[in-house]
Assembly symmetry: C2
Homo-oligomer: 494 residues x 2
Amino acid sequence: MQPLYKEEFRYQAVERTILDMIEKGLLSPGEKLPSLRQMKATTGFSLTTVNQAYLELENKGIIQARPRSGFFLRTVVRKAPKVTINKPVKPACRPVNRSSMIHSCMESVGDPRLIPLGLALPHESLLPVKRLSMVAAKVMRYQSARGMAYESVQGNKDLRSKIAFRSLDSGVLYNPEDLIITSGTLEAITLALRTVTRPDDTVLIAEPCYFAFLQILELLGLKAVSVRSCPENGIVLDDARQVLEKFKISACLLSPNFANPDASLMPTERKKELVRLMALKEVPIIEDDVYTELYFTESRPEPLKAYDQKGLVLLCSSFSKTLAPGYRVGWLEPGRFREEALKVKAGTNPHSATPNQMIVAEYLAQGNFDQHLKKLRRKVYCQVEAIQQKIGCVFPREICCSRPTGGMFLWLKLPQGVDAWELFLNAQAKGVAIIPGNVFSCHQGCLNGFIRIGCGHPLTPRIEKGFNILGELVNEMANAKKKAYKHLQASGLA
Amino acid sequence: MQPLYKEEFRYQAVERTILDMIEKGLLSPGEKLPSLRQMKATTGFSLTTVNQAYLELENKGIIQARPRSGFFLRTVVRKAPKVTINKPVKPACRPVNRSSMIHSCMESVGDPRLIPLGLALPHESLLPVKRLSMVAAKVMRYQSARGMAYESVQGNKDLRSKIAFRSLDSGVLYNPEDLIITSGTLEAITLALRTVTRPDDTVLIAEPCYFAFLQILELLGLKAVSVRSCPENGIVLDDARQVLEKFKISACLLSPNFANPDASLMPTERKKELVRLMALKEVPIIEDDVYTELYFTESRPEPLKAYDQKGLVLLCSSFSKTLAPGYRVGWLEPGRFREEALKVKAGTNPHSATPNQMIVAEYLAQGNFDQHLKKLRRKVYCQVEAIQQKIGCVFPREICCSRPTGGMFLWLKLPQGVDAWELFLNAQAKGVAIIPGNVFSCHQGCLNGFIRIGCGHPLTPRIEKGFNILGELVNEMANAKKKAYKHLQASGLA
């Protein structure tokens, strides 16, 4: 993992000291931590730094402050081991057919009676609710007539300027005239796919791949061929090469930065090589960049677009994971396909909602977005850490969990024999909603040993209860499998 | 035409008196009208009624009040003759391919430098800007967190209840649980088409047909077969019967109430027969109902859905023509296809924008919508009348103009030999944007003798200038054609 925020180095040293103590058996769950002064003496840092570090650990859910008593160790801080990559499967190109399975998952996750452990959006406590509400009220009151009229096909000009300005950070400077505002990232991706493909074409995707992409492919009558992806390094380039040789690929649809569901990040060199590979065969790359801003490292990872010399990358993103999911304000930077993309936009959804665009443009103009993002990243990082700890605590030892450096997902490999879809159904029956790995694969029966955990929600008592239930279930199911296996073995059948 | 608002009978009597005077040569453009007292004496109505009638005529742009001088006749009140139906063409089923032509028109109409005579949306002066802005500001300020979160796939529950409640007027009572909120009517139609058709299927449409429908058909890879429609009675049922016999039709896509572009209204008996015809063959009907509320007659014309006993009608509508175009809040009542439609919605645009739905729901809850609609209808009616007058004034005598009883369009048949696409290009060069008939047909070269005029904008001096320019152009083009024809005749070639 790349270095964390500079100011966090010292906090990390404090954290490491505590982890050391746990490993050495000096500290057990429920026990009191060294006092601030003791820790100051041990680490040599100032009292303020140590205090900050303790608060940080509290935020992460690792320790707990008790009034007038000091800090106590909350959970066993055993992290689940890393997820590794799947074995290669023979690449195959096939029509996508996942709709009904995905629909069940969406219904489960959207059911307010269930504890949501699978959600892919930031909790409202992570968003600038108050400031955005003030901006929104102002815009709605004073620019109401404009807000009621249709926006142009390309979208609000001020907003496009602001997005273009912000693109500086990513190593590519967009031209506002090239951007197309969309109703969220999914519209941008649908638009991009319609721009560069025709029904029956084949699209290269990752395995695992965000289920909404699979649904879009299915609805557009596109075929998919998948290449393996691992949480550490994203897609396997050798797989991509093989696929390019074997199939006529009309487009790639990939999320190089903190992909949904495995939060994988492609290293820079792989990104460059991928863009080069595709450029050789003139294959357009549809790049989903929606989680990029949620990096836990020093700086924003660059998009594939930063290495795109031929205008082949169509970048799709939105404010749904960083500012206001419900506003549905996204964008497409269509590379050299601007004209065609505009035609498709004009032909299906010629005007994305006007007031939403105005509000986001005005919010960006006020200049607090970067400050908000900084806070958001820290909070999401803390939540991801806390949930990892929790998973390490309640799940059986055989579980594997990704160690993301950004995004808001954990990708869990279940103990052998535990079926994700079965777990999904069992969990639902016990009041917990998760997303099983199956829906992230275009191959029937694949990824059925994985689940996706969303980390957008803080580890509240309710969410914690959800993890307890889920952990118990996985334990039960794993034990039942082991028992059945032993039984089979005993009877000489295994 | 059905009787107008009751209170308008007397105003009409006053109007007729004035028209009589003009016909008898007693009154010419620019001349002063009889005073209120003279008119009172002539008609026997009260001073208030006569005054109201004069104000009405002023609203319609027929007369002009001059301070301290009385009322003056503004334009020659000759209405263009009615448009009649086209000759039948042999029905043919073919892929749709109109995108680039439509794109040019959309660009022209959206260009702020051009005078827009083709727009399909109500001017802001017709919308409850102030009240909606207050509601919006309130919602955004006090329910901001909810507004930022994703809405459910089906959409805001309060909004669905309100829409269901309002459906009482239309003769069908919806169940809020059946409604799906969409981002405008076009999303509802796309959704409906995707629900009941597969690529390469054939869809029955009207000729003329709203160009956005043609674009959607094209993008979904659907084929179209068209049946004739006339401004007075909507589609010709004999054509529909013939098409049903000859082709395998997967769905109809029709606008029985005040269709775009010819504002045609199907009589009740035709509606019933159409639904019966389709039910016999189990053909789903996708009904675009977006202009229905803009009726100039006594009551709301009923949708096809009112006669739908098999759940075959998928009704699509929105608030885009009545409340806030830019909000993109529409709905689909999917009949018996609820489950499938929800799946398609979840698979492409799972969450329509949240705050927009909340604002419309709150606005409807405040109970002023009907009052607003009443005003809106009257204003649109006046604008349609005024623009008809203007057209009668500035265009050559050979022009034919529809006489709609609702909606916001006039459908003009150009003098023989004047090509609509040529007129579109010429008008654009002179700073006027219109929509040529060509883009409303799925057949190459058809409807090239028609143009659509939008009546959503009041007849301001700028719009009036636009009509003057357009009228002059049509005159020129018609004369040039006549001359060329005479020349040909003289040289014995014609």
